[in-house]
């Protein structure tokens, strides 16, 4: 006898009808809910793009999940198991409801059927283990970022029951009506042997089986509905949403067009759920509250009121109730949005492709653009004196007095145009970094120059939500830079680096931008610079967010430090922002602790003599922390350029 899949063994026909009805109802519920929900959020099928990329990204996403081994493995097991079981169900549907009914043929027979049974049991087992692991994690391990809600318990129960009932059913079937190829369904087979041993009678088996079968079938229907109504909808929504990448900020207007048309759409930014873009709405709905963003957030870590998870959850919650509810003050506290350092760790941590920073920036933009609410005086200073310090414009060139640096004249040419940035121009400590960069460039024989009228790059304005000021500054700078001939735009500030590279380029201001770290590494690799002495100190490196997270620039600084320090270069175990970005350098937000102190303590874990940084804000933040913590004499903080410069002689 050829092995083949049995259908509806021991099943009364009414139960089969109930099952079919429930499946149809579940599908209707699922599609109707999804349809109305995404339509409410302004999604149109024409907006469905890059589904191939999405499918490819699924693997990346699972890889990201696996950075937390326990939770990641549990999720992967459940997801893969469920997916294969789903495919199995589709096979059954095709065979029984289409092929057998309409064509009187079948394919789940013989070796195909036996393989099918093996695969299904493996998938079921993986699925079941994943669900068990998840239950143990939520009930006993309880990682701090997981918040247990009723929904989580219900979903895990449904999944657990689905898996368990499937196997028991199989076991009973094989126990009371054995087939020669029964061992292919190895889990069911083992169970059947146990049932036989415990003395399961045919009549009892026949009595239990239909109820078990029906409940298993109904679990399937309930699960289908759960994919539209519970957090499980993160899966279908994953394919509908579009993630706004961290480094490319979406602008609400283009200034030259606004000035030309004399029209601007208001309000600017986000105040109510209705002002979110369709993908922001869908993405918020896809949040499963896993808390990975929260765990990566430097502000949350320092006990500040902000948690990116809460921002997304609050938006998602409000979205469901009303599209016209004011978000700031009653739902989201103003301090939450101003605690953000815009480091983007939350964006990189989210497996569901949500960009929590995108909401925060939207909320900031509304507060800043429409209400003029921005903390601190840095933006006012930029507006009045073109630098966040509020120092006189004429003092900008103070750092290069007596250095005799070529100042570019209009029409003149230079290979490298050095954009110094406000921090290295005005701050006494940071001026030394700029002066050191000049020294290095001279040592390497680089043809470089500076601008006579460099100004603010606008980065801070953009991060704080004043898009108008940012665009004013940016278009002014683009126009200015286009008057000069240069090949490379060199920056010492990663904030400037990033704004030129990722933001200006969106507005037709494309320049070949180099971070000083990138450039020094290039000079070393080309042999234009040579390290002649070895660093005798134990050194660790703190990545600036705007190099690491926004631009994935992590190898160059390490190459330099390896060359300089060899084995004396040690990596800090964790990564967090120093707290200086997104305005953090310019005003203090409320919190139990300060991000820079915590970050400084991270680096102390490897007992360095020297902390290497590559960003003026990081340098200030770390020096401040070293002073506060009483380490001023024990640990030095230096820019990589300063470290290298000493080793070139």
């Amino acid at each position: 006898m050829l092995p083949s899949r049995p259908y509806f063994t021991f099943m009364p026909s009414w139960a089969v009808s109930v099952f079919y009805l429930s499946v149809v109802a579940a599908l209707i519920f699922f599609f109707a809910k999804m349809f109305f929900e995404v339509r409410r959020y302004g999604f149109k099928i024409s907006k469905l793009k890059n589904i191939n990329v999405k499918i490819k990204n699924l693997l990346e996403t699972e890889k990201l999940l696996l950075t937390d081994i326990y939770g990641g493995v549990a999720h992967t097991f459940v997801a893969i198991g469920l997916f294969i079981l789903f495919l199995g169900t589709i096979c059954v549907f095709i065979e029984y409801d289409i092929l057998l009914k309409f064509f009187n043929t079948r394919f789940l027979t013989g070796v195909v059927y036996l393989s099918y049974e093996v695969v299904m049991d493996v998938a079921g087992l993986i699925f079941f283990l994943g669900v068990l692991a998840a239950i143990v994690r939520r009930a006993f391990v309880k990682p701090s970022r997981l918040i247990n809600r009723k929904e989580d318990a219900v979903i895990l129960f449904i999944l657990l029951y689905g898996g368990l009932s499937g196997f028991i059913m199989e076991g009973i079937r094989l126990a009371i009506k054995p087939v020669p190829w029964g061992s292919a369904s190895f889990v069911g087979y083992i169970l059947s042997q146990m049932f036989v041993l415990t003395g399961l009678t045919y009549n009892l088996g026949c009595g239990i089986y239909p109820f078990l079968w029906l409940s298993h079938g109904l679990t399937l229907s309930v699960a289908v509905v759960a994919f539209a109504f519970t957090k499980l909808k993160h899966f279908p929504l994953y394919f509908l949403g579009v993630q706004n990448p961290l480094e490319k900020w979406v602008t609400p207007f283009n200034l030259p067009l606004v000035l030309e048309s004399k029209k601007i759409e208001v309000p600017l930014g986000v105040n109510k759920p209705s002002t979110l873009s369709w993908d922001q709405k869908i993405n918020a709905e896809a949040c499963v509250n896993c808390g990975r963003c929260e765990e990566a957030c430097p502000a949350y870590r320092a006990g500040k009121i902000l948690s990116p998870r809460n921002i997304v959850q609050k938006i998602s919650f409000t979205l469901k109730k009303s599209l016209n509810k004011e978000l700031i003050s009653s739902i989201i506290n103003e301090d939450e949005i101003w605690s953000c350092t815009t480091d983007g760790a939350c964006v990189k941590a989210c497996p569901a492709l949500i960009n929590p920073l995108d909401y925060i920036v939207g909320l900031r933009r509304y507060q800043a653009m429409n209400l003029g609410k921005v903390p601190g005086s840095a933006l006012f200073n930029i507006l009045v004196r073109d630098n966040p310090y509020g120092l006189p414009r004429s003092e900008r060139i103070g750092w290069r007095k007596n250095l005799d640096i070529k100042v570019l004249k209009e029409g003149e040419e230079t290979d490298v145009l050095y954009w110094v940035g406000c921090a290295a121009s005005y701050d006494a400590r940071l001026q030394k970094v700029a002066q050191t960069v000049v020294k290095i460039l001279r040592k390497a024989g680089v043809d470089f120059a500076v601008l006579k009228d460099e100004g603010c790059c606008g980065e801070l304005a953009r991060r704080l939500g004043d898009e108008y000021l940012f665009q004013e500054i940016m278009f002014r700078n683009i126009e200015k830079l286009k008057k000069y001939k240069f090949r490379i735009l060199l920056t010492t500030c990663p904030h400037g680096y990033n704004i030129f590279k990722n933001d200006y380029s969106e507005f037709n201001g494309k320049f070949k931008v180099y971070s000083h770290i990138e450039f020094i590494n290039k000079l070393l690799e080309e042999g234009k610079l040579e390290i002649k002495a070895n660093l005798s100190k134990k050194v660790t490196y703190h990545d600036p967010c705007y190099l690491k997270l926004y631009n994935n620039l992590t190898q160059e600084p390490r190459k330099i430090l390896m060359k300089a320090a060899g084995l004396k270069f040690v990596e800090t175990k964790k990564f967090y922002c120093c707290g200086g970005g997104g305005g953090g350098n310019w005003f203090e937000s409320k919190g139990e602790q300060r991000p820079n102190i915590l970050r400084f303590r991270d680096t102390l874990e490897v007992n360095p003599d020297l902390i290497a940084v590559a960003c003026p804000y990081c340098l200030s933040m770390f020096e401040d922390a070293a002073k506060t913590e009483g380490y001023e004499e024990k640990v030095e903080v230096k820019d990589i350029a300063e470290i290298i410069s000493e080793l070139l002689e």
Binding site: L259, K262, I264, L268, A368, F380, R385
Partner: protein, 267 residues
């Protein structure tokens, strides 16, 4: 409902102004202009009073057309309307001619309860304008006000505070009144970016320009003609550079610090 007029001046950022010792003149080329800093405090006070009592805030400035940039900023801060009082005949005015011109413009606006000026400008530092305008309008005036405690719109009175070196003075006056305020009495608000942009798009809606004829001023009393003051000579008085840097705090350094302060006759 309070109707408040704030007088502002568009001045070169004196931090960037250098003195040419050879020519004996100040170098203003390439120096950006800003709203005279205490004038920002005057605007802030006016806007805060408007928020408290309701009403309108107008800004006036007697300046060349370039000052429109400053007026836009004032509007962006929340001022309802700005008037640029500008005419070539106003050029080279001293404080008397300026006060006269401004009082004509204020009369043209008509009814008002409060006129606020910054106590002095960073480029000439006379502190004349407030009192002179008050006299020309024939209404009470008070300089160096640090706080407006209360405005009684029924009784039409205003209660003000002035902090002086050896105490605090309390004043009450009948409206309308002219006051002048200093830097530091409040923190000027950030100009609302959207409003700044809208002012840029529809400048005429927010800013009106008045020439000599518009304000009905006597041509003999404005500008150079109306100015009895003459600048005879400008000399730079060099300030001795004193610099003390103490980088650690201990009993010794505090003693050293006190010693140095005594040596410098500061204490």
């Amino acid at each position: 409902m309070l109707k408040i007029i704030v007088g502002i001046k568009w001045v070169p950022d004196t931090a960037d102004v250098k003195f040419d010792p050879v020519k004996g003149t100040i170098i203003r080329e390439g120096v950006e202009s800003i709203i005279n800093p205490p004038d920002l405090n005057a605007i802030e006070l006016a806007l805060a009073l408007k928020e408290k009592y309701g009403g309108e805030v107008y800004v006036i400035s007697m300046s060349p057309p370039s000052a429109i940039k400053g007026l836009k900023m004032a509007v962006a801060m929340g001022v309802d309307k700005a008037f640029l009082v500008s005419d070539r005949k106003f050029a080279a005015a001293d404080t008397l001619a300026t006060s006269y011109t401004l009082s004509c413009a204020i009369k043209k606006i008509g009814s008002y309860d409060l006129v606020i000026f910054g106590e002095e400008t960073i480029d000439s530092a006379t502190g004349h304008i407030g009192p002179e305008v008050g006299e020309m309008l024939g209404i009470p005036h008070l300089s160096y006000v640090t706080e407006v405690q209360e405005v009684d719109l029924q009784q039409r009175t205003i209660k003000m505070v002035r902090e002086v070196e050896d105490g605090v003075e309390f004043f009450q006056a009948n409206l309308p009144v002219v006051i002048s305020v200093g830097v530091g009495i409040n923190t000027p608000r950030y100009p609302i970016p959207l409003r700044r942009l809208l002012t840029e798009l529809e400048t005429n809606k927010y800013i009106e320009t008045w020439a000599l004829n518009d304000i009905g001023a006597d041509p003999e009393k404005v500008g150079f003609k109306g100015s009895p003051t003459r600048v005879v000579k400008v000399i730079a008085a060099p300030m001795p550079a004193r610099r003390l840097e103490i980088r650690e705090a201990s009993g010794e350094t505090v003693k050293l610090f006190i010693k140095r302060l005594k040596e410098a006759e500061i204490i």
